[in-house]
């Protein structure tokens, strides 16, 4: 079998493989060879980047074992997942809760920037309960330590207020519903699971027993892109509610 030539066709082929997030170069010889060419040949490297840019994609990482990791170049990209793709028709409070649930899950797996940088560190499995507690306990603590003006309009009330106001769980509620803390975390975890950001490593009928571990993709996306966006978002904080 001959090794592939640097060509636009092959560059597009590699991008196509990268878009299949479930594919792994380990079980795909063509993918493996194209990746090797991408790493070895600067001209092909540029071609692949051009194809990706044309498709509104950005290349974050390329390893022979885990493949090419591409992400949507902007939130306007046709490939980007949006909140409404996860669940439509949510109120601003529920949207905020779902965003915070994603951040809490990421924080449970990668609490510090160091562990995010350290490729040899594999985060221990975590349960839905751990993610839920990280989010809820912090929201409650902020509620207790922050003196919020009583006449604050609802649209300016901080996110922790939205979380602390939610019931922890809805009794006998099986479906992941955006109306409780457990429900919101469950929606986020389920969606991350479907998109290959976390892996279910112990399946159980009972939510309490199921545990999840993050995939390499979650680490890379967080490290190369999402963490900076989160940092920029955090700078938007309004001065009225300060963290002590």
């Amino acid at each position: 079998m001959t090794s592939p030539e640097p060509s636009v066709r092959n560059a597009a082929r590699l991008t196509y493989k990268a878009l299949h997030t479930a594919l792994s170069p380990v079980n795909d010889a063509e993918y493996r060879e194209l990746l090797a060419l991408y790493r070895a040949d600067p001209a092909f490297h540029r071609q692949v980047e051009d194809v990706a840019t044309g498709l509104e994609l950005q290349i974050l990482d390329a390893t022979e074992s885990r493949g090419l990791i591409v992400v949507p170049a902007s939130r306007e990209s046709r490939f980007s997942v949006r909140l409404t793709d996860i669940r439509a028709g949510m109120s601003p409070d529920q949207k905020a809760a779902l965003v915070l649930a994603h951040v809490a899950i990421a924080a449970v797996f990668f609490p510090t920037t160091d562990v995010l940088d350290d490729d040899n560190y594999s985060p221990p499995p975590s349960s839905l309960a751990a993610c839920r507690d990280t989010l809820y306990a912090l929201a409650r603590r902020l509620k207790e330590t922050t003196d919020l003006p009583a006449d604050i309009p609802p649209e300016l009330a901080p996110g922790w207020d939205a979380i602390a106001a939610l019931p922890m769980a809805i009794p006998a509620g099986q479906r992941a519903s955006a109306a409780s803390v457990v429900g919101v975390v469950k929606i986020a975890l389920n969606h991350m699971l479907q998109n290959g950001l976390v892996r279910l490593d112990r399946e159980a009928d009972d939510d309490a027993a199921a545990t999840y571990t993050p995939t390499h993709r979650l680490r890379v996306q967080l490290r190369e892109l999402a963490l900076r966006r989160l940092y920029e978002m955090a700078q938007l904080v309004t001065p009225m509610a300060k963290v002590d």
Partner: protein
């Protein structure tokens, strides 16, 4: 299964749901002495039993349904388990404010078993509308108790002692909630800053109460030795037992506090990781708290920034190859919330024409005479000829537009001439750009081209 709603309404007749609600709160409070609250099934069983005691002719399914209704009421099920809220007039600020609260919390204990327990407002409902902190209220009760024992009102003293015991329960739960929070998310708590002071004051509070209790118990014991009336003796024994019960709860609190640092260290060890200084802030200790401080509206606005960065590309569903480019070029709009205010309707005022109709007519007439001569004209030649004919600048600008418009056969007013691009440019005072050639149709040159 339970028959029609009519039958249910009949069954509820004569049931004191208020009492049932308080009884459920009582059960949850008592359950905090052994666990961190009651499970849903414990409460439902209890409520069904109480309902049957109130109305023995109830059938078991109805009794259970009444229990469910009461528990759902406490947990605000009708409003999707949201917080209760009521508006009240706040005199100092002269404004109406909303007070939001829960009566019960449905939360997991350390073994992840979901249990109900009363909130501070739940205790407040139970203990009456005396809004004192549990530790202050306990001191108040002690003073009352002392006075009542001195006066020999043992029955009233017993009532007060029982309330004081409930306050001990509440205080213990308050402290324990804080501790559990710290165990669950050890990364979010700075032990010496957030917890030590609070635990020290709790320890101090318990020590003082225990000293008072010992004194009270002695006093009650003394009265017991002197009392001969049976009813008084019964009250005194109950009073002594209640005081001891409250003492026991405080002892449990002392144990909670004493083992707390050790449990916390263990919880921290479980999530231990080395922290070194780095560039971007850490997710758990810095970014998450900061993001929680953003307003819900800001978070909702920024949601797609994060979600699009966090998730891998998702393949848009394309059902037809023709739509690929349309999809890729499409600008996706945000999830817009329809504005309530549609704004005002304004009358549409058409823009005035750039050139008056008479002027356009004059330009057209002049051009028609030029083309009628049957010669081939270039655009710049026509404009120069117009200038020579004494046409002003406005008229010549109008000519430019008419001539360029004539480039498109469908727009052309002059069907007898064909227009082609010459491939060279011209520059005049009224216009500059690609030069055009106007050839009368039917000329040999023109036929050869077509």
């Amino acid at each position: 299964m339970l028959g029609g709603d009519e039958a249910y309404r009949d069954a509820v007749q004569g049931i004191d749901t208020h009492y049932l609600a308080l009884s459920a709160l009582d059960l949850m409070m008592e359950a905090t002495t052994v666990a961190s609250g009651s499970t849903s099934s414990e409460i439902l069983t209890h409520l069904a039993e109480v309902a049957l005691r109130i109305k023995p002719e109830l059938t078991a399914p109805y009794a259970r349904r009444i229990g469910e209704a009461v528990l759902d009421g406490l947990d605000n099920k009708a409003n999707n388990h949201r917080e209760f809220s009521f508006d009240y007039f706040d005199a100092p600020s002269m404004s109406t404010r909303a007070f939001r609260f829960r009566l019960v919390r449905f939360e997991p204990d350390l073994d992840d078993v979901y249990r109900y327990r009363p909130t501070q407002e739940g205790y407040l409902v139970y203990l009456g509308m005396l809004d004192l902190s549990p530790e202050d209220a306990q001191e108040l009760m002690e003073k009352m108790l002392e006075l009542l024992v001195q006066r020999g009102s043992f029955k009233a003293a017993l009532d007060i002692a029982q309330r004081a015991r409930k306050l001990s329960l509440e205080y213990r739960q308050l402290i324990r909630d804080r501790l559990y929070q710290a165990y669950r998310a050890p990364g979010s708590v700075n032990w010496s800053r957030d917890m030590t002071g609070r635990l020290d004051s709790a320890r101090d509070h318990v020590r003082k109460r225990q000293a008072e209790d010992a004194r009270m118990e002695d006093a009650v014991q003394g009265s017991l030795l002197e009392a001969s009336d049976l009813q008084t003796r019964i009250s005194l024994v109950a009073l002594r037992d209640t005081l001891r019960g409250a003492g026991l709860i405080r002892m449990q609190l002392v144990t909670d506090i004493n083992v707390a640092p050790e449990l916390f260290i263990e919880a921290q060890r479980a999530v231990f990781r080395a922290r070194r200084p780095t560039g971007l802030p850490d997710l758990e200790s810095q970014l998450l708290p900061q993001l929680l401080n953003l307003s819900a509206v800001t978070l909702a606005d920024q949601a797609n920034n994060l979600i699009s960065a966090l998730y891998p590309p998702s393949m848009p569903r394309i059902y037809d190859l023709n739509s690929v480019f349309a999809l890729l070029l499409e600008q996706r709009s945000d999830d817009v919330v329809a504005e309530e205010d549609d704004g005002e309707l304004e009358k549409f005022v058409p823009l005035p024409d750039q050139f008056p109709q008479a002027l356009i007519q004059r330009a057209n007439d002049w051009l028609a005479t030029m083309f009628a001569r049957g010669a081939t004209w270039r655009l710049d030649q026509l404009l120069e000829a117009a200038e020579d004919a004494g046409m002003n600048k406005t008229l010549r600008r109008c000519l430019v537009l008419i001539l360029y418009r004539a480039f498109a056969p469908s727009e052309s007013e002059y069907k007898t001439v064909s227009v082609r691009l010459m491939g060279e440019t011209f520059q005049l005072d009224v216009a500059q750009g690609s030069n055009l050639e106007f050839t009368p149709k039917g000329e040999p040159d023109d036929i050869a081209r077509t």
